[in-house]
């Protein structure tokens, strides 16, 4: 499926946009691989994947029209 992904934090800087589109991804593992291939700088960053506003911690199948977000932690105060 084609996935539209919202980005946060410095992931936005890496992609140059706060929304990216990735094609042919069946699950979150494939999604992470595709994103890291498109933007190699993201491969070194520990972000979480949220599907429909819920973080997923194991490989999860992606259906059409799901809301996907990638969120890194922030440390600043």
């Amino acid at each position: 499926m084609r996935a539209k992904i919202s980005l946060f934090g410095q992931l936005t800087d890496i992609a140059g946009n706060n929304i990216i589109v990735v094609d042919d991804v069946a699950d979150t593992d494939a999604l992470a691989q595709a994103v890291n291939k498109l933007y190699p700088a993201m491969a070194g960053i520990k972000y979480i994947i949220a599907i429909d506003k819920k973080p997923v911690h194991t490989n999860t199948a992606l259906n059409e029209a799901v809301n996907i977000a990638l969120l890194p932690p922030f440390s600043g105060g």
Binding site: F8, I45, K53, K54, H57, F74, G76, G77
Partner: protein, 379 residues
Amino acid sequence: MNHNTASYERYSRQVLLKEFGEAGQQKLLQAKVLMIGAGGLGCAALPYLAAAGIGNIGIIDDDVVSLHNLHRQVLFSVHDIGLSKAERAAAVLQKLNPDIIIEAFNERLAVANALALLKKYDVIIDGTDNFSSRYMINDACVLLNKPLVYGAVSKFEGQLAVFNFSINEGAASVNYRDLFPQPPAPGEIPNCAESGVLGVLPGIIGSMQANETIKLLSGIGSPLVNRLLIYNALNNQVFELELAAQTGTRNLIPAGAEAFEQTDYDWLCSVANNSFEISADKFNELRIENKPLIIDVRDDGEMPVVNEFDHIRIPLGSIPDKLPGTGNDTIIVFCQSGKRSLQAANLLSEKFGAAKKIFSLAGGILQWKYENNFKNERT
């Protein structure tokens, strides 16, 4: 409530709120809140907490005011440069509200003092600026069962949540490690000093932390329990995540006070998670500086023989059971190519948690011998 005229007048506009009322004010006056960090978040949260009449406020920060703080740390002036943030913040706030107790701790929160200090307070607010403090504070709050009002900022975005608090009694509460189980590696996530921050952003997020604290204490509204709010100052978009307790998170947190006090959070945040591997050069450096326990995890009789440095042999199948008691806080394992030793490092890490620093020689003894001999030939 103290019904002297000044006190009554001071809080009158919020007591007027029927949802809050005199009962809400009483709860705030009896509450004890600890603000960790008197930086951008603290400078925003603290005035509202003091003004609202939180009866006892602790402020801990070991830093001093710098000129580059002033664009966001609005409690301070140019006259405060070089002075303790905690003490200067307390002095300003005490003028704002002389009727409450404000205590400044001009020291760094560390595993040695965290539990004793946090124990005294009803709500803990995290306004720190680094991951090792954030993970330490989270773990301490879990161990002490204290609500934690979390806030963090980066450039134009802020995160906010209430951790370790259940709306329904008995329900599992969520903590920071349910969201981000392990700290990022150094350099992975830039801090404010590296990436910058819009001055007003910690003002917004810190004010929201004060709001969450006041809601928690007075019992009004719906605090951000089991939710993470992300605010973008550039487009005013707010994104919310629903959080749930994860199985396994508890294993990442020290089991009790003793284990907590032995945890080296700076070290946890100084190495990539599960990145036990070190290069041959780093191995040589650690071998001299840390006097580690070095373990060959190959089976008996495997070649090449290693006689260049002291070590013991415990085959992978016997790790960690056959491990002798050791006072060394650093253990380095090696094998032929680095694969078995990586498994051994994982096993040792499960056994010791953060109590010991565990490393695996990348590329194994073959790579080490190659690099050392190669270098010897060249020099």
